[in-house]
Assembly symmetry: D2
Homo-oligomer: 291 residues x 4
């Protein structure tokens, strides 16, 4: 992959458009395909066909996540369908396909067509960076929904993984009183060392009535009927965890609790920043592979 | 004013309704008047007439600001008009009228009717506390408007008064790169000591092209045509200063700059918190007066 | 282990004395042995013999680290020697021995005498908590050594493990400009998300001339002759890593660089806090074992 | 004062030596006089006589503070005496004398000799900047004295002026639980907005038993016998206020309380940083005067 690399961006959402513009601004050759219903600042980047987009590319960037039906690329702004096997057929063995959540079926297709691939969501740095816009989006939601300031309010963050860490830091930075729930002794130690109030899972139930906002980042049900019963009526519940999430939404609504399931925030609240993170990670992948 | 004080809340916006509810929750006798078009949780607080509201009150709380025409109380949720002189006629010399921006004409009326008054916006602590929801509202606006995260973005705050100080602190707490413009050497020293990058007014022009967001808190025009010309096209301008503000809006719009004049944020973004601040300040006034 | 547990504290440094006092203050039965040359506030806690100390104990806490010669307990304040096998002989199978750095030879002895043991330094939460006094001690050292404030100075932290994370946070909290060196892309992402300036190991050499202070937390040589040659003459080098450390001290001194190898800070700078952390971890061990 | 200005530094402490070196490093002509018992890196800066030092200078910088006896300059490193009137006799009307705490007697002398002067300690920015090394020195002291970490300890700061503000911020940044005492409602509001726990002077007495460290910045006695009686025995008291200070030291010692009166910290703990602040302020003075 000598000289300046060239990129094909095929399908995806606003992030991928911004990614194309970013790469083009930095002098890379870029072709975009799979974006019809949306305005693109640099129109000349658009390819007329999949073949035109892919032919001269060193790197083909697909959607994040890659597909919703395991057959076609996920395209937020395209009426036609781009079949994954059609894309793979166009690619040669010197190109690499980078996208998100490349599952086993898609991997098999890649193998069948001899396509080299890398899953961007397997990259730890991508997951860490995505936690930044996720946390900001989570803060924005609470600001929009509540008649109180986050400053000086009592906020519980459940889970101290990537999102939990960055969300807790930002909430603390705005002036909230931050409580973090965790199970592991070492996480409790980290929470204490960062200056938040730790709550061990075994003590959670007793504290649930104290919060103005509860954020969940744990991907299994933590707040079910008995727990929800303890939560204050005016408390806002925001679930940031992927399916099945940590809050029993059905019950929460029946019990009149205000809750929001906020998924895929990076692409929604900060597509330009998210695109920059994708770009950096794409280059990390390329460099680590020695391409 | 022995025993538990009683309050009349007459006119105003959502904040005053929340104020009434807060006081009632704490066991004070409260009457609300001037809120027709809005739901109130505790319906029994509503008075049928101005006289009923005011008669047994020790403290009469009016709108913040008090009036827009110097004749009637500012009522966000009332079709009728409440004349200020009518209110003052109902009041006796043992009662106190507390509202915001009580100007000379209203003061004269108060004098004529022998009504004792205090302007809540003259209270320094009220102005400081109001800067908290103002800063949060300013952050929410930027989050809603921009496709980037505040984290790691370059943000200029013009002015280092109450709002400037708290806004800079919160932005820094979220992870933004914060620059603060000021004129006084001592403010420059404060800005440096708080860890933001100071920009002296005399150097401002040279730096204007570096920012993703510019917040103004200075109440006179700082950004006029030449300055706006330096500002990046994708920079968001948010003016938090009262009239005439610090940005030439007419020009900014002609030049295609994205700008928002955000006034009265506390009552809009966090009426419950703002009401709590009003309540605390009302009690400070009462205590300081020895009532 | 029904009812209130009883403890024997045998050997060690100031931390273990404080630990005994803490436990006694909380109503536990405590015996101290192996502290002759030092004053103890609660004299009645001292046992006359090893046997007296150990006999009624549920938990026997030894030194952290346990031994320097694999034969005797490490005692900072005792002229006699306490042989580990002698201690183990006194213990019965219902007791547990908790100490630090219990190596293979000591484990074999424990096995031979049927003594149940747990190494407190294997506990992740202990390592995390110890990073707090280590970081404060590291800050104190720099304050004492340098004629400049940490505020606004340029400080490099090499490594982003437990100590690196907490040290960077505290330095940032005091107002230093914090740079953190790391190798992994994910650590670079974390460093960026926490608001410090990341420096990838591969770029380190170019930046070495910019710092007022360099802290190392990496346990292998990173700064050798060529790197040290880049470091400013007035830069203070503080190595917090255990042997062999990350700085070639021999060379650094020959080259006139000011460097300090700061080990075992918790027991030195904050024995009372360190004892509290030991206490909490001892209870975590006991609870996790269901004792 | 056209072209590059030249400076005479006459008397003072380590800060003034560093100031001379800083100015020389930046290409200014500098003469030092009044520093015998101390090594100076750039020996060529030393003048043989007061006359030689002063003759070609545009700016004469004296000690901070200027004098302890109103007759001679305060010289930390000079056995001889430099009489102020002798210095003023050497100066002409185109020169300016800048020093600290120029009191009425010295002002009269300046008038008599037609010497133009400016007091650097009258400059608000100097006072603000000096609060930075003062706060760091205060933190260093507590770290050295106490067997606990500042992290997670309960610390009271009395007074919310310059030093109180910066000290509270740094303590919070290290992870302490910060309480700030103040009297004014507006200061209470600021303290709350910055995220510390405010304690009104009228409630202070009830809280005094809760702290590990108490810092005073108020220049009149706040902690007298009854208050000291409430303070915990192991609490460290550090007074940062100039005479008479805020703690009755006599009583505190009689009552076995550990207390330190820490004055003039900037020159002691961070002379190089303090010199940089002096330099910046000297230039602000010169520029503001249009020299």
């Amino acid at each position: 992959m000598n000289g300046k690399r060239s990129f094909a961006i095929v399908g995806g959402d606003l992030r991928n458009i911004k990614l194309g513009e970013l790469l083009s601004d930095e002098g890379f050759s870029v072709k975009l395909y799979g974006f019809e219903g949306v305005e693109i600042n640099q129109k000349e980047l658009k390819a007329e066909s999949l073949k035109e987009a892919v032919d001269d590319a060193d790197v083909v960037v697909g959607p994040i996540p890659c597909s919703q039906d395991d057959q076609t690329l996920h395209c937020a702004y395209f009426e036609d369908r781009i079949f994954i096997n059609e894309l793979f057929r166009q690619m040669n063995k010197n190109q690499i396909f980078i996208a998100g959540m490349i599952n086993d079926r898609i991997k098999h297709m890649a193998e069948a067509f001899n396509v080299y691939w890398a899953d961007i969501l397997d990259r730890e740095e991508m997951a860490v960076l995505n936690a930044i816009p996720t946390a900001e989006g989570a803060i924005q939601l609470a600001m929009e929904e509540l008649p109180i300031t986050l400053h000086n309010s009592n906020i519980l963050v459940m889970g101290f993984g990537r999102i939990g860490k960055i969300l807790a830091k930002m909430l603390n930075g705005i002036g909230a009183r931050v409580y973090v729930e965790a199970r592991k002794h070492s996480d409790i130690a980290w929470i204490e060392s960062y200056g938040y109030t730790p709550i061990h899972l075994s003590d959670l139930y007793d504290h649930l009535g104290n919060f103005d906002i509860i954020y969940n980042t744990i991907p299994y049900i933590v707040l079910d009927t008995p727990e929800l019963d303890r939560v204050r009526r005016d408390c806002l519940l925001i679930d940031l965890a992927s399916k099945p999430g940590g809050i029993n939404f059905q019950k929460a609504k029946e019990m009149g609790r205000k809750c929001i399931w906020a998924l895929s925030l990076p692409g929604k609240v900060a597509p330009a920043t998210a695109a920059r993170f994708v770009k950096n990670t794409v280059f990390n992948i390329i460099n680590d592979l020695g391409l």
